[in-house]
């Protein structure tokens, strides 16, 4: 059997499958080779769809390698606004022979395969139940261009052109985007426009345009912006007043300090003198980067670092120091798949435990968990305030999924009346006026004590900071009671923290239900869709609670208490947040049901629905329903 022509019905397991038909609701996936320059063409494609007003959620799936290995760019297009990953591909753009089999396998029955048919492939390489659209991309490009670099570059634009015809992307939108991208380099713009139309014209002439999957202009994007979480968090750090950043490169966090550097160079250089209002150090490792953050924060600057799991492990000792000596520190952990080096270019939420309890001895740390780039921005600035206010390390828990992928997100907002909250700091005037100062003396009853910046006053307010036990006046002591008083105050400060962190957000089902679902971070976009599926398939509704911080506020306890069964959806093996819930809230583990996804791919609505559904319908019923 030969590859299917796009207009006919396709066959599957004996029966015919109609080609998929969908408008503004499908998944396109590009299979490329890492380092082949496809990334910018793919981004162009996504952005064009956005400009048409259609929500699109791209995901870059790349190897831990620089060049030559497989990489994928997956785009979920969804007018309904579903931004979670979805299983299966509707239109596969297969540009990488290395992964052909796997790519073809991933197409949904009735789906489409676009490929380069310059070199013929045996029929066994195809599937009967999909529509195959071949275009002789290589020979076509080679005929048009002779310089190898141009061939490489324009091939990508040519396939974008062809696809624009196949699924009805407005070519004007792409043209505009190219013009913006190469602003000022008119020759390049013209060349790109030409390539675009070459591809488009070929498709219109030779390919079955449009396919069953098409786009029509929409208005669902609104004023949302398109940005990745690391970049948004970096901007949050600029707005939050961070002046010191010490970091060590590690995937998937490096782009956060790199973006911070770019924005600082743009917004924080004194116009007249060229002098910088920031100090960014690429440290020699993570022990050093966190040490610098602690040193800078001790000395009154707002400071942060960004890293991923292995970095957190290395920072553990220092994190304990900051907890015990009560020094602010902001740590962005852009999580990847662990343990150890694990899968460094895959996502996971598996550093929850280590961050919550990092370091030996009795310690607890504040975590903020954003769901999208907008919250990355907000929580980044909030973390800097909170760290100063609470005088303790504050983690911002991103993951690769939100950190390194661009997402449609609410526009970033800033209130110009907002001022940095530098927490309890005694000034030279305070000291001069004779105000009593005890570095670890709780005078306000919230267990947060006053500090002074080094160098404040010639004779008052100096103190000695140490990781050893001390009394209220920062004097070294090995007295057990002073030690214990201090440890108890730290617990009380933990209670204060509960009142300051962003509360969990509850969304009720509308109808009364005994079921609840708890989730956090990058799982967020898959939840509404999962609940839609569950409502449809099981006729059950669930109340939702999105956790945004640790420690948990009273709203979390209330939510759990108010439901008979609460599903806790996480992207790790060991149900780490669930452990925190039962640990800190004394909840009965029995009522918290694990829904765990941890193969490194982003969690999907289908997975969540199946995981929850399995508990809602008894097995025999479930089979009957299928």
């Amino acid at each position: 059997m030969s590859p299917q022509d796009a207009s006919q019905m396709v066959e599957a397991a004996g029966s015919t499958v109609p080609p998929l038909v969908a408008v503004n609701d499908f998944v396109v996936k590009f299979a490329n080779v890492n380092g082949s320059g496809s990334a910018s063409a793919n981004q162009l494609f996504a952005k064009a769809i956005l400009r048409m007003g259609i929500p699109v959620t791209p995901r870059n799936i790349f190897p831990s390698n620089i060049q030559g290995l497989p990489t994928w760019y997956e785009m979920r297009i969804s007018d309904r606004g579903h931004m979670g990953a979805r299983e299966g591909t509707d239109l596969m753009v297969a540009m990488n022979p290395q992964t052909w089999d796997e790519d073809v396998r991933s197409i949904r029955p009735g789906g489409y395969l676009f490929y380069d048919n310059t070199k013929a492939l045996p029929a066994s390489k195809f599937r009967p139940d999909i529509t195959v659209v071949g275009m002789p991309l290589t020979s076509f490009t080679n005929a048009a261009y002779s310089v190898p670099r141009e061939r490489q570059l324009f091939k990508n634009i040519i396939y974008v052109g062809a696809l624009s015809a196949l699924i009805n992307i407005d070519p004007k939108v792409i043209e505009d985007l190219l013009a913006e991208q190469f602003r000022g380099r008119d020759k390049l713009i013209a060349a790109n426009h030409k390539a675009l139309h070459m591809g488009r014209d070929y498709a219109l002439a030779h390919l079955p345009c449009p396919l069953g999957l098409t786009l029509v202009p929409s208005d669902k994007v609104g004023d949302r912006i398109f940005i990745d979480g690391n970049t948004a968090a970096a901007l949050g750090a600029v707005y939050g007043g961070a002046t010191v950043c010490a970091w060590y490169p590690i995937t998937p966090s490096s782009s956060l300090p790199e973006a911070f550097t770019r924005y600082c160079e743009r917004y924080r250089v004194d116009k007249e003198t060229g002098k910088k209002r920031f100090g960014i150090v690429q440290a020699e490792d993570e022990l050093s980067s966190i040490g610098m953050v602690i040193g800078a924060a001790w000395n009154g600057a707002r400071a942060f670092t960004a890293t991923s799991g292995p970095g957190i492990s290395l920072m553990s000792e220092f994190i304990g120091l900051a907890y015990f000596a009560e020094i602010p520190a902001v740590i962005f952990d852009v999580q990847r798949s662990g343990p150890s080096t694990g899968m460094p270019t895959r996502t996971q939420q598996s550093d929850i435990t280590i961050c919550a309890y990092a370091s030996h001895g009795d310690t607890k740390h504040v975590l903020l968990i954003p769901e999208d780039p907008n919250e990355c921005f907000q929580f980044s600035a909030a973390a800097l305030d909170l760290a100063d206010r609470l005088q303790t390390p504050v983690f911002v828990m991103l993951d690769l999924e939100i950190g390194m992928n661009e997402r449609l997100t609410a526009p970033l907002a800033w209130d110009d009346n907002r001022r940095m909250d530098r927490g309890k700091v005694m000034t030279a005037e305070d000291l001069q006026s004779g105000r009593a100062f005890g570095r670890y003396l709780d005078v306000d009853g919230d267990a947060i004590t006053y500090r002074t910046y080094p160098g404040t006053h010639p004779t008052r307010g100096s103190f000695f900071t140490r990781g050893t036990s001390r009394d209220e006046f920062a004097r070294y002591t090995e007295a057990g009671d002073a030690y214990q008083r201090n440890m108890e105050r730290l617990l009380k400060k933990w209670d204060t923290a509960k009142t300051l962190v962003p509360p969990a957000i509850r969304t009720d089902a509308g109808a009364a239900t005994k079921y609840g679902v708890i989730f956090y971070g990058s799982t967020s976009p898959a939840i509404p869709e999962a609940l839609e599926i569950i409502a449809a398939q099981c006729d059950v509704v669930l109340d939702q609670l999105r956790i945004r911080a640790f420690p948990f506020g009273p709203e979390v306890e209330k939510f759990i208490d108010g439901h008979e069964t609460v599903f806790v959806v996480e992207q790790n093996r060991d149900a780490q947040l669930r452990s925190l819930l039962i640990n800190e809230l004394e909840t009965s583990p029995k009522k918290l049901v694990r829904v765990l996804h941890y193969n490194g791919a982003p969690i999907t609505a289908e997975f969540i629905a199946a995981g929850i559904g399995a508990h809602l319908i008894p097995a025999p019923l479930r089979e009957a329903a299928e």
């Binding site: 400009r51 004023d223 949302r224 398109f226 600029v238 707005y239 007043g241 002046t243 010191v244 010490a246 917004y267 924080r268 060229g274 002098k275 910088k276 209002r277 920031f278 100090g279 150090v281 020699e284 022990l287 050093s288 980067s289 040490g291 610098m292 953050v293 602690i294 040193g295 800078a296 001790w298 000395n299 009154g300 600057a301 400071a303 220092f318 526009p411 970033l412 907002a413 800033w414 209130d415 110009d416 940095m420 002074t452 910046y453 080094p454 160098g455 404040t456 006053h457 010639p458 004779t459 100096s462 103190f463 000695f464 900071t465 140490r466 004097r475 070294y476 002591t477 090995e478 007295a479």
Partner: protein, 351 residues
């Protein structure tokens, strides 16, 4: 045990420096180190150096790691902020502190275990970065606080108290510091305060990474025969290449330059280092020659002391980074936050 406050007796006739402070104002509570420990002499030298330089004590930040040596900042400069951090990581904490406020003076105090064993990476990288600081290693060749194990500066073949010889090659901190870009490098001996005090003063007047390797015998665990860090051994093998005199602004006029044997180095920031040469072939600003000299003399078993290398025109980390003159910790929202209008533009560019 809470620490022991030192009796603050009023001595109205104690000499005062230009700021009106007496030496007492630079002291701290009583040391809890072993009687006779070399480290206490270094603390005393620091006190004298700061007093003589007329430094406002609160404008000095003193940082350390963990060890007997790292405890000493508790015992001097009681009006300065101090930070006894974690083992081997003082350099990063100091670097961060220095970033936050370029106006204070930074004094890093560490031990040989702290800086040459666990902390060798951080020590080395802080030198490369040219952090503006005075970094003193109180070098006794052992881990004092954990009871006398060899550190990485113990010489191969040196014997511990039980007569067991060290197997590993010693790290020579001054050679490494010069190698890695420190711009003021000295070695001294806790038993020779006359040499040590001016070396500390010079370091505190230096802009850039200043490093002092100060041999400081551990009387509890490394002051026996067979040790190469005992008082006796160091006294016998000490070869000073020069004797330093630091000339601050107000002294300058009175200096008498004895020609030939004396060299005067003017540092970038105006301070003058007057060096009485003891090894007349020694050229203190020649990095390559200094390294060679040190290696040749080390091979002969000499412990070379004095100011070993200085780059009077050195830059520091802030200079390289071109940071603003205002300390970061004094910048407010107006200087740091770009504001809502900028954000609106940014939003627009992201659609």
């Amino acid at each position: 045990m809470t620490y022991l406050p030192k009796p603050k007796l009023a001595h109205p006739d104690l000499p005062k420096n230009a700021l009106g402070f007496t030496r007492r104002d630079y002291e701290g509570p009583i040391s809890t180190l072993c009687a006779g420990c070399g480290h206490d002499s270094i603390s005393a030298a620091i006190v004298r150096a700061c007093f003589e330089l007329d430094l406002p004590p609160h404008r000095i930040a003193k940082l350390s790691g963990i060890g007997c040596s790292s405890k000493t900042p508790t015992y001097f400069l009681g009006n300065s902020h101090g930070f006894n951090s974690v083992h081997g990581r003082m350099p990063s904490v100091l670097t961060g502190a220095n970033l936050a406020n370029r106006e204070l003076l930074y004094l890093g105090v560490s031990g040989d275990g702290d800086s040459a064993s666990i902390g060798f990476g951080q020590f080395s990288h802080s030198m490369r970065r040219g952090v503006n600081m005075t970094y003193i290693v109180e070098n006794n060749g052992v881990y004092g606080l954990t009871k006398g194990q060899f550190s990485a500066t113990a010489d191969r073949g040196a014997k511990n108290k039980r007569g067991v010889a060290n197997l590993d090659e010693a790290i020579d901190m001054v050679s490494i510091a010069i190698q890695l870009g420190a711009t003021y490098v000295a070695r001294s001996f806790s038993g020779d305060k006359d040499q040590l005090v001016p070396l500390i003063k010079g370091a505190m007047q230096h802009t850039g990474a200043a490093f002092i390797d100060c041999i400081s015998p551990c009387v509890a665990f490394n002051n026996h025969d067979g040790s190469t860090k005992s008082f006796d051994y160091v006294r016998e093998h000490n070869e000073a290449v020069n004797f330093l005199d630091v000339i601050t602004g107000r002294d300058e006029i009175t200096v008498d330059y004895a020609p030939g044997t004396t060299e005067v180095v003017r540092q970038h920031n105006g301070s003058l280092l007057k060096l009485r040469k003891l090894a007349d072939d020694y050229e203190v600003t020649d990095r390559v020659a200094a390294m060679d000299f040190l290696e040749v003399r080390k091979a002969r078993g000499e412990i070379v002391t004095g100011l070993l290398y200085v780059d009077p025109d050195a830059e520091d980390m802030h200079g390289y980074m071109q940071t603003h003159d205002t300390p970061f910790n004094a910048m407010g929202d107006d200087e740091l936050v770009p504001g809502a209008a900028v954000l609106a533009k940014l939003n627009a560019s992201l659609r």
